[in-house]
């Protein structure tokens, strides 16, 4: 597994899209789609990734792709995956060119093309409005990969808060002002929600650890049944410079604000444990969306405490005691 290996794969998403300079979502998608050599069909929820890659008459997708609506990429992929199973049974997913029209059923099955299914959603389309469809698809056990590119807000429409927006962050619908200091609730933990569904593979990943992300993509595609990957996707609207996407992701991982871990058949494995946890302030201070908090010791302490508690809990789930 190497960068060269990823770079050598056929581009399933191409240049000419209109995402912001420096957008983390694209390299995330590129790395993930390199995780299988089989054919892939993608469904994508309304959001940055979908809108900026499919402005008619141009599409940046080099694979079959469907955008249905905002909250239903998981339901859409359920339909596609089921159609594949139904048509495969009838011998309609044949490999290469077939001239003979009669095949024995067994032969037909052997000659079917293997296709992988992936659904993308932003945090909006996954944590909030898309949660029902995601949960339903996971419960039914369809064989697909769901990737949430989490940029912690409704970014395509100008940075409104979502349930993935961190506590205290300024967004246009949870602004910091005279009496309010940004978002008043802590983030939802979607990765844990998906782990609770008991699906074969769940992971949290980061662009700062790209080979780890690549490994997770491979496992997700290979898993028989639903697989879920949540990837932190830094956004210029957090108030960072475009070239800082990877650096910020790295700080998120090292401060344990965004731990990278896997849950494989219920077994937890944390992929990176910092020897010394970076204070969350280090992650927060370079983002303008947290500017108003930098003088607020109480809120900063609350945030640090919350990160610490979640990290301890995660360690417990893995079965280890926290190193002091």
């Amino acid at each position: 597994m190497s960068f060269k290996e990823i770079a050598s794969k056929e581009k399933r998403i191409v240049s000419g899209h209109r995402l912001c300079p420096g957008c983390a979502a694209i390299p995330i998608v590129r790395i993930i789609l390199a995780g299988t050599d089989k054919e892939v069909v993608a469904a994508c929820a309304t959001g940055c990734l979908e809108v900026a890659t499919t402005i008619y008459p141009y599409s940046s997708w080099n694979i079959p792709f469907i955008h249905n609506a905002f909250e239903n990429s998981a339901a859409t992929i359920s339909g596609i995956e089921t159609a594949y199973n139904a048509l495969k049974k009838k011998g309609k997913i044949k490999k290469a060119q077939e001239n003979a029209s009669h095949f024995l059923r067994a032969e037909r099955q052997n000659l079917s093309r293997e296709i992988k299914f992936i659904a993308f959603g932003g945090d909006g389309g996954s944590y909030d409005i898309g949660l029902q469809a995601l949960s339903g698809a996971a419960e039914r056990g369809h064989d697909f990969v769901y990737v949430c590119y989490d940029n912690e807000g409704y970014m395509n429409t100008g940075h409104q808060r979502s349930s993935a927006t961190p506590y205290g962050a300024h967004t246009t619908t949870s602004p910091s002002g005279k009496f309010k200091k940004g978002k008043e609730a802590f983030r939802k933990d979607l990765t844990e929600i998906m782990a609770a569904h008991g699906i074969p593979y769940v992971a949290q990943a980061s662009l700062s650890n790209p080979l780890d992300l690549y490994m997770k993509a491979k496992k997700a595609f290979e898993a028989k049944g639903p697989a879920f990957i949540n990837v932190l996707s830094p956004c210029a609207q957090w108030g960072i410079k475009p070239e800082e996407s990877v650096e910020i992701s790295d700080k998120a991982v090292k401060s344990c604000f965004w731990p990278i871990y896997e849950v494989e058949k219920g077994e937890y494995k944390i992929n990176f444990k910092p020897e010394e946890k970076l204070p969350v302030l280090e992650f927060i201070k370079s983002q303008l969306r947290f500017k108003h908090l930098l003088e607020d010791k109480e809120m900063l302490d609350e945030i640090q405490k919350h990160v610490d508690e979640k990290w301890r809990h995660l360690l417990k789930l893995e079965g280890e005691k926290e190193a002091d």
């Binding site: 402005i55 008459p57 079959p64 089921t82 419960e139």
Partner: protein
């Protein structure tokens, strides 16, 4: 001609048609009074009587979303719903028609909330009349069986989704004699579904963002397609006629030709009107019924051609709050430039019964030339 007559409820008739069509994928969510369609069909799946893959989705919104996904992937897709379920699907219905996907949905007409009510009226299907779906209404179990089979072939010909209606509880739960075609005949009639483009065949992008420079043109294609569906409906209906021996048209004309007084209404209540028409005809009254079948695309000119000079009452089983009821509006649209007197009635909301004596009163008013600018109500306690 096949003489296989069996006793079926409306829901069972639909499930039977679905069994014979053997769709690839059925994503469905239960809701009264559609549930029996899904249950009956699920039994067929469990017993291996169909090859269909069912998706027991977690909501109607996901049912239609999965239907869009499956249809875009090249599968033949059918589903069913009612009332709140149809409303929940509403966001995705124009996506299905906008992406030109031939999905067939059975709508078992039920009133919409609030207040919550599980009985029959047409407010659910009327709420989606502008979304690019072909709409076909069915008076009884025979019709809903025939219409479902017709719809499948029509949808794939015109590349647009089709919804087939029947009255909730009144026909969906009532046992009637239905003449079923042989399985082979239905199979041959609907044929094999092999779309030119699909997600499992082509690297195509569905659902791109079309800005003001392109959206209008794509929508025009849709408008053109549904307008052409009018002709395709008759063509497909003619082919079905050859198998069933029954005639199909945009509307049924019951003793209409020489009638001076006409009631226009859809679905099961048309049956009640037919009884009254027969009764009054025996007394020498020139009364008749026009029962619309194809509601979208609406056959304006054909309706106009049969209603000249007649006195008309339109009975709507739904309201359009703040405006004229839907069927009445369309009839008025059909007749706007000819001399015709039309009275609007609203009846049956929330399953309120309509009786023969009510229909007789309507004809009586027509015969006495009693017309009112405002709409009248049948069966309402006023």
């Amino acid at each position: 001609m096949n003489k296989n007559k069996i006793a079926l409820t409306g829901a069972q008739a639909v499930a039977e048609a679905m069994r014979q069509i053997n769709p690839d994928v059925v994503p469905a969510y239960p809701i009264t009074p559609q549930t029996q369609i899904v249950e009956t069909f699920a039994h067929f799946v469990a017993d291996g009587k169909v090859e269909t893959e069912m998706i027991r989705v977690e909501s109607e919104h996901s049912a239609m979303s999965a239907a869009v996904g499956a249809s875009a992937a090249g599968a033949r897709v059918m589903t069913a719903s009612s009332s709140q379920g149809v409303l929940l699907m509403l966001e995705i219905l124009p996506i299905a028609s906008g992406l030109r996907l031939p999905i067939v949905m059975n709508v078992v007409n039920r009133a919409i909330s609030a207040p919550i009510n599980i009985h029959c009226d047409h407010s659910d299907s009327m709420a989606c009349r502008d979304l690019g779906w072909v709409q076909i209404y069915s008076e009884d179990n025979q019709e809903v069986y025939d219409n479902t089979i017709l719809a499948m072939k029509l949808a794939e010909k015109i590349e647009l989704p089709v919804m087939v209606m029947q009255d909730g509880f009144i026909t969906s739960h009532c046992v009637e004699e239905v003449e079923i075609l042989e399985d082979e005949k239905v199979k041959r009639f609907v044929g094999d579904y092999n779309p030119e483009t699909s997600l499992l065949k082509n690297k195509v992008t569905y659902g791109a963002l079309q800005l003001p420079d392109y959206y209008f043109e794509t929508k025009m294609q849709e408008a053109d397609a549904i307008a052409k569906a009018k002709i395709e409906f008759l063509k497909t209906a003619k082919e079905l006629s050859k198998l069933t021996g029954r005639e199909y048209n945009y509307f049924e004309s019951y003793k209409l030709k020489d009638a001076n007084y006409v009631i226009i209404t859809m679905n099961s209540s048309a049956g009640t009107v037919k009884s009254v028409v027969d009764k009054l005809r025996k007394k020498g009254k020139k009364v008749g019924l026009l029962k619309p079948v194809l509601f979208r695309p609406f056959p304006y000119s054909e309706i106009k051609s049969v209603l000249k000079g007649k006195k008309i009452a339109v009975l709507d089983r739904s309201e359009s709050f703040g405006a004229n009821p839907p069927l009445f509006s369309e009839i008025k649209n059909s007749l706007f430039d000819i001399n015709a007197r039309v009275q609007s009635y609203v009846f049956g909301l929330g399953g309120r019964e309509i009786f023969e004596k009510d229909i007789e009163k309507v004809f009586d008013n027509l015969m006495k030339n009693k017309f009112d600018e405002t709409r009248k109500y049948i069966g309402l306690r006023e």
